[in-house]
């Protein structure tokens, strides 16, 4: 073996820079091509190292399907939300798709939302609230105003890993302070809402 000769050194030195430039061009081109010319997203089976998943235990069933509701009626139910995060994230709840009624029934269905441990969609037994309620005795119409992640209630800080939280929802049909005629005008009125929990990485 010989030490690199002058000629060899010169040739190599001259070649090195263009080589680096070619590699540079290739890598930028390749990356850009991969990222910006694809027309579709991943099919779902090759999630990257960081991903978040939020599920609930409702199996697609609506939490409340109240028919023939009478003044003074009330009901309490639970739903458990499970977060699977590979990066620390925040979960908040908010309302979407409010259904309004001309009789303003949504002003009279008042909702309390608490969160804690225990209980499930099927059965609230064992639920233990943690902290103060997120909303307390608030009409559906006000909850419908909370319709973005930014405004959402909760602010549940999810650490890396799987964690879950149960939300207890209580509603009551409150006709206090209304005249009988106003109360009667609400007969047959229908209101509704969807609850959504969203997780965003911090």
């Amino acid at each position: 073996m010989k030490s690199p000769g002058k000629k060899t050194t010169q040739v190599l030195a001259v070649v090195a820079t263009p080589l680096a430039l070619v590699a540079l061009g290739a890598s930028v081109y390749q990356a850009s091509y991969a990222a910006f010319t694809g027309q579709t997203r991943n099919s779902g089976n090759e999630w990257a190292t960081g991903s978040v998943k939020l599920t609930d235990d409702d199996n697609g069933a609506a939490r409340f399907r109240v028919a023939n509701m009478l003044p003074g009626d009330t009901q309490t139910k639970c739903i458990t939300v499970t977060a699977d995060a590979s990066v620390p994230s925040t979960v908040k709840g908010y309302a979407i798709n409010p259904v309004t009624s001309t009789a303003k029934l949504e002003d009279r269905v008042k909702v309390t939302i608490e969160s804690g441990n225990g209980g499930s969609f099927a059965d609230c037994t064992g639920f233990a609230a943690v902290g103060a309620p997120h909303v307390s005795d608030v009409p559906l119409s006000s909850i419908a105003q909370v319709n973005t992640f930014e405004a959402g209630f909760g602010g549940w800080a999810v650490p890396t890993g799987v964690s879950s939280k149960t939300y207890r929802l209580t509603w009551r049909f409150d006709t206090e302070g209304m005249t009988q005629a106003q109360v009667d005008a609400m007969q047959g009125a229908k209101t509704g809402i969807d609850m959504q929990w969203e997780m965003q990485s911090n």
């Binding site: 690199p4 540079l24 930028v28 990222a35 910006f36 509701m69 930014e150 969807d194």
Partner: protein, 503 residues
């Protein structure tokens, strides 16, 4: 030389090891310098590509989070061309946009995956399971991603997230690489002529290219010391400057996040108010009653709510029990089981009406004379001969037949032909005109009619369950009572039938 070459070779063999070592060192050194140069070129090139478009008015965005992985990694720089309203938005491409509905404004890099019916777009991170929740309005789109410069923004993300260890390691490595890269190789002309001239003028040291200009000497020791000494000067200048400027440029670069999102939804919760205004109640209210007491109060209640809207709250007295099963099949509610008590209907005494109607539901098996409903000048259970007035009362005979017109001092009465103490619920209506033409309806049909006893004019209270029909004669009704309505008008037969039909 040629003749002795074999000998030389033989002689040199023992010395081969150190000689070989120096060759390896030389090659290693060459390779290191060349690699460092390639790294320098690569890094400066990346930085240039990442930063240069800014001159054109384009934007460079360091990606902060990884929801676009694997195509865009954290620390990559997205070079994006500004987007204007007149440009097309191609679904499937990656855009830089203002995160919609965010209180703290920040830029997002995500793919637009759908044009919604309302003209907004749906965005998604490639690595997110679900699409982003908040739709993206056209006006929030800032730029179309054009070039992706890999990794070059990593120091910026390290700096912004306070990852000082990798940042320091990278800075050291880069500084070292830049220093190594600026070593002059054998046979290369001296560079930085201007700088060197200046240095030569002011420096007392000999010009550095003297020994190296004559080519690499075969003795390794001499060469090593010379180059080391020469490099000592350079290392303190350009590499650090270059790295420092890179860092400055880096911190100036704007960042865009590609955050992970997920959501879950519980849909379709609905609340439908029931028809609590019962048909019977509606039928009664349509006839504007003076008062209407459903008797639906729970057991133990002392006041009877007036459903008519006239606030004539009734009060329960004596021996009775609320909350027993009600009398109307299609109108849920409870009844009052009266044994010796009464309900006085209204809190204030009112002038006795000349035309009136009494309506109630009853059920009994009693065989003693009893008082169903009537009008009296006081609220108590007794009757005093002096100064007491009571009339307009409907009673049940011991036979179970219903009578109207028998009150203290009067006896022009009408009586139903058949008894009703059969243990079934019955609907009773008594109507009377100002001319005292009275009709008794049972179960919606008129069963007795005629002129009844004269009336007194005084102020008093309507009552049910117990009242005065003569001196010391104050019998109570023994049975269930429900849905009591009083009208200060004469109900027509059609309305009575309608009430019955709505039961």
């Amino acid at each position: 030389m040629t003749a002795t070459s074999v000998l030389d070779a033989d002689l040199q063999r023992p010395a081969a090891t150190p000689r070989h070592a120096s060759e390896v060192r030389d090659w290693t050194r060459l390779a290191a310098v060349l690699l460092a140069r390639m790294y320098r070129t690569f890094l400066l090139g990346l930085a240039l590509i990442a930063v240069a478009p800014v001159v054109l008015g384009w934007g460079s965005y360091v990606v902060r989070s990884g929801s676009m992985e694997p195509s865009i990694q954290v620390g990559d720089v997205v070079v994006a061309k500004p987007w204007t309203e007149d440009q097309r938005v191609r679904v499937g491409r990656v855009f830089v946009y203002d995160a919609p509905a965010a209180t703290t404004p920040h830029l997002m890099v995500h793919r637009i995956v759908e044009l919604r019916d309302d003209g907004d777009y749906t965005t998604a991170g490639d690595a997110n399971d679900l699409t982003d929740v908040t739709p993206l309005p056209r006006s929030d789109i800032r730029a179309t991603a054009v070039l992706l410069v890999p990794h070059v923004g990593l120091p910026v993300t390290w700096f912004q997230t306070g990852q000082w260890l990798p940042l320091a390691a990278w800075l050291l490595l880069t500084a070292a690489a830049f220093a190594l890269a600026s070593r002059r190789l054998e046979g290369e002309p001296p560079r930085w002529r201007l700088l060197r001239l200046v240095r030569d003028r002011f420096s007392p040291r000999p010009p550095p290219d003297g020994p190296s200009g004559s080519g690499r000497p075969s003795g390794p020791g001499g060469s090593a010391t010379t180059t080391h000494g020469r490099d000592g000067v350079r290392r303190s200048r350009t590499p650090l400057l270059a790295v420092a400027s890179l860092v400055v440029v880096g911190t100036l670069a704007s960042t865009a996040s590609a955050g992970f999102t997920g959501h879950t939804r519980n849909s379709g919760s609905t609340w439908t108010a029931g028809p609590w205004a019962q048909p019977y109640v509606s039928a009664v209210l349509a006839d504007a009653p003076y008062g209407f007491w459903l008797m639906d109060e729970p057991r133990g209640a002392t006041y009877a709510a007036d459903r008519s809207g006239n606030n004539r709250t009734g009060q329960f007295y004596g021996s009775l029990q609320l909350g027993t099963p009600g009398g109307l099949p299609r109108n849920p509610g409870t009844a009052v089981d009266n044994t010796g008590g009464r309900a006085v209907l209204g809190t204030q005494a009112v002038a006795a009406p000349s035309a009136y109607s009494i309506e109630l539901w009853f059920r009994t098996t009693s065989t003693s004379r009893s008082y169903l409903a009537g009008f009296e000048d006081d609220r108590d259970a007794s009757y005093s001969l002096f100064g007491s007035e009571a009339d307009r009362s409907v009673t049940m005979e011991s036979s179970g037949r219903l009578t109207f017109g028998t009150w203290p001092g009067r006896s022009t009465a009408i009586t139903t032909p058949r008894p009703y103490n059969d243990g079934a619920w019955h609907h009773l209506v008594v109507t009377s005109t100002a001319g005292r033409a009275t009709t008794i309806y049972v179960d919606g049909a008129a069963v007795a009619s005629g002129t009844t006893s004269t009336l007194l004019s005084y102020s008093g209270f309507w009552r049910v369950g117990q009242g005065s029909i003569g001196w010391l004669n104050t019998p109570a009704f023994n049975g269930d009572l429900d849905n009591v309505a009083i009208y200060h008008s004469t109900l027509p037969a059609t309305r009575v039938a309608a009430h019955w039909a709505a039961r």
